[in-house]
Each structure stands twice: as structure tokens, then as C-alpha cells.
């Protein structure tokens, strides 16, 4: 493997796992977010060789073969995506976030997704989707 290849390029070009998107390639937009050993990271800011021996989870690994997982379903139910280009990044960020904080407030959700850019939705419905899947009364109402 060419050492300079980023994790994002390697996932997309070599493994053809194209669910991970590139929106800026300088670590701002968050579209390329994947989980490395359970932690959300920007795959455009990490070299593929640095992922050696680690566990990588991309959007392709979120759902079983024929059904959406609860977070994905909540995104559909709340219209938390439009063009879908930033969506994988949000799903991965929120997956890690909910693992660490299963019962967040809406304020915490808002902060948690602040490193991911979406140009379509205005974020409100993404926050509502995460709050819904967290199933926490406080998160839903606050």
C-alpha cells in the first residue's frame, strides 16, 4: 500500500466502500467520518497505514442485510437527510456519540454533531432523530 493514501481514499478506491464520502478533504465537513476502534475519526485526516490492526466501522456496517438499524430508521422518520451526501458522516458520528452517551440532552446532541456539515436539512431534524433513537424523554422535550 502507498503510504500516502488516506484511510478515506483506501476505503473508497481500494475496498470500493463508497458509502464514506469526501466533502472537503481537510477535516472540516465530517462527511468522511468512520469509527476506528469504536471512536469517530475523520478518515481524510488519517493515513490508511495508521489503521493497521485496528477495527474500522463504516456506514456499510451499520445495518443488517435487509433492514435499517434504529438510528437509520430514525433518520428516515424525521427527514434527517435530503441529498444524503453528508449522511454517512452524521450516522457514524452519532453512532459513536450514542455509545458514549446513550441518553443525551438535545443540547448535547447539538454539540456532538457540530463537527459535521449538512447543507440541506438545517440540522433540526437530525437532532430530533438522534433524540428519538436515544429514547430519552428529556432529549425529546428539552
Amino acid at each position: 500500500m502507498d503510504v500516502r493514501i488516506t484511510l478515506a481514499d483506501w476505503l473508497r478506491d481500494e475496498l470500493q466502500l463508497t458509502g464514506t464520502k469526501l466533502g472537503c478533504e481537510h477535516g472540516v465537513c465530517g462527511a468522511c467520518t468512520v469509527l476506528v476502534d469504536g471512536k469517530a475519526v475523520r478518515s481524510c485526516l488519517m493515513l490508511a497505514v495508521q489503521a493497521g490492526g485496528r477495527s474500522i466501522l463504516t456506514v456499510e456496517g451499520l445495518s443488517a442485510q435487509s433492514s435499517l438499524n434504529p438510528l437509520q430508521s430514525a433518520f428516515q422518520k424525521h427527514h434527517a437527510l435530503q441529498c444524503g451526501f453528508c449522511t454517512a458522516g452524521f450516522l457514524m458520528t452519532c453512532t459513536a456519540f450514542l455509545n458514549d452517551n446513550p441518553h443525551p440532552t438535545k443540547v448535547e446532541i447539538r454539540e456532538a454533531i457540530s463537527g459535521n456539515l449538512c447543507r440541506c436539512t438545517g440540522y433540526q431534524t437530525i437532532i430530533e432523530a438522534v433524540a428519538d433513537v436515544a429514547g430519552h424523554a428529556e432529549a425529546r422535550q428539552q
Binding site: 488519517m46 459513536a96 454539540e111
Partner: protein
């Protein structure tokens, strides 16, 4: 972005000796490869270095903090980054090792220009030693958006004894090519009772004499003016609580 084209890159991620947080004899030692996220969730840092804990919430976004390391953010030496200001504020010592052996560099002497530090070629930042925080602190920052590099930031530490300021430390960031200690503001605070007038006087003193540069996000005049505002706010908040 094709800004640099290094011929060799060395990944330090697997050097476990360079990672971790421990407290010993009144000093918190943080390994260079400890991530900002690990620092932000560390009970040691929360308890012993509340200023650093507070400032970490201004460092980019959670996902960036998962990869960003404390050593990286210090060695990078960005004048608009939070950690250099915190290290100078808390009187930290940077530990580096290289072909000539190990050495210690006080944080106040470590940052010597924009994206420039006292690290010599071939030297690696290994640890930072931070004395357990004295007094109560507050950190204030303005940025265009949440998580952006600061337009201006201020860190203020106060030790108040019998209603008077016994000791004060005032640091500013993003107003120069390196963290700036506001000695005039500290002098304006020393021995004074804590009140709005004192805070305002110290804020004005901090602002005076600054000559920040302008960029597309804020003018130098803005940075100078707002530096005083943030120092004033930080003083009042540091005096008012445990943060």
C-alpha cells in the same frame, strides 16, 4: 491541500510510553500522544487542572479531539489554538528528547512565533508537566463559529484571600504570534478587592499595548478591543466560582 510534501513521516501512535495522564508530587504529567478527547474526559485533569478541562471544550469538535493529541497541538504552535495558552497560563514544562538527549523547556519559552516552537530539528516532544493549578480560573473565547480557531481568548487565574486578590495570572491568545501574558492586567489586579471596576481596569490594561494582526475573520482593532472584554469577563467568572 498539497501544502507540504514530506519525504518521511513517522507515526508515533503506537508508542504507548508517550501516552497517558498521571499526577505525582503536585505535577500532572501528560504524554504527548494522549488525545485531546482523553484529556477532556480525564478525571485527573478535571480535578487538578480545571482550566485545561474548560479550554478543551473549545478545541475543535469531539471527532477532531479523538485524533488530535496534546503533544501535536503544542508542537504545532498555532497562535489561535487553546492548549499553548493553557500551558503558559499554568506554568507547564515541555519535555523533549532528541539526539542530544532530554531537556525541559518552560512553556513560556517554548512558543517563539507563528507555528514555530523551541523544538530543534530531530527533537520530539514527549511529555508536558503541569503543576496542579493554583487558585480559580476561567477561560473565555470568541470564534466565528463554535469550534473554530479563536478570534481572541483569555485565561485568568485568581487566588483570592480575605476578599483581596493575592495572586493573578492573565493570559491572552490569538492576539500575537504566541500566547501573551498580560503583566499590566495582573498588576492591576494585585491586592485589589474583586469588583466590576477592578475587572474593567484590568481588562483595559490587558487590551492596551496589544497590536494584534488582522485577517479575514477579524481586524486587529477588534481583537484588541475584545481581549479587554474577555479578560474582564474571565476575571469576574474566576472570582465568582470554582471554575
Amino acid at each position: 491541500m498539497r501544502l507540504t510534501a514530506p519525504s518521511v513521516l513517522v507515526d508515533l501512535a503506537d508508542l504507548s510510553d508517550l501516552s497517558g495522564i498521571e499526577v505525582r508530587a503536585g505535577v500532572v504529567r501528560i504524554g504527548a500522544m494522549t488525545t485531546q478527547a482523553e484529556c477532556a474526559s480525564s478525571p485527573i485533569i478535571r480535578a487538578q487542572l480545571p482550566l485545561m478541562h474548560e479550554a478543551l471544550s473549545f478545541v475543535a469538535h469531539p471527532v477532531v479531539r479523538n485524533r488530535g493529541t496534546i503533544g501535536g497541538s503544542l508542537a504545532h504552535g498555532d497562535p489561535a489554538a487553546e492548549m499553548p495558552v493553557v500551558m503558559v497560563a499554568l506554568g507547564a514544562t515541555i519535555r523533549a528528547t532528541g539526539p542530544a538527549g532530554e531537556r525541559s523547556i518552560p512553556a513560556a519559552e517554548f512558543f517563539i512565533g507563528p507555528l514555530t516552537t523551541a523544538l530543534a530539528p530531530g527533537e520530539v516532544l514527549t511529555h508536558v508537566d503541569i503543576p496542579v493549578q493554583r487558585g480559580t480560573w476561567a477561560f473565555e473565547e470568541v470564534s466565528r463559529r463554535h469550534g473554530d480557531f479563536a478570534l481572541v481568548m483569555a485565561a485568568v487565574g485568581l487566588d483570592i484571600q480575605s476578599g483581596k486578590i493575592d495572586w493573578a495570572r492573565v493570559l491572552l491568545g490569538a492576539v500575537s504570534d504566541r500566547p501573551v501574558r498580560a503583566h499590566d492586567a495582573e498588576a492591576a489586579l494585585a491586592g485589589r478587592p474583586i469588583d466590576a471596576a477592578t475587572a474593567r481596569t484590568a481588562g483595559d490594561a490587558a487590551s492596551k499595548g496589544l497590536n494584534p494582526s488582522s485577517d479575514i475573520h477579524a481586524s486587529g482593532q477588534y481583537r484588541r478591543q475584545v481581549a479587554g472584554v474577555l479578560v474582564r469577563r474571565a476575571i469576574l467568572r474566576a472570582a465568582g466560582g470554582t471554575k
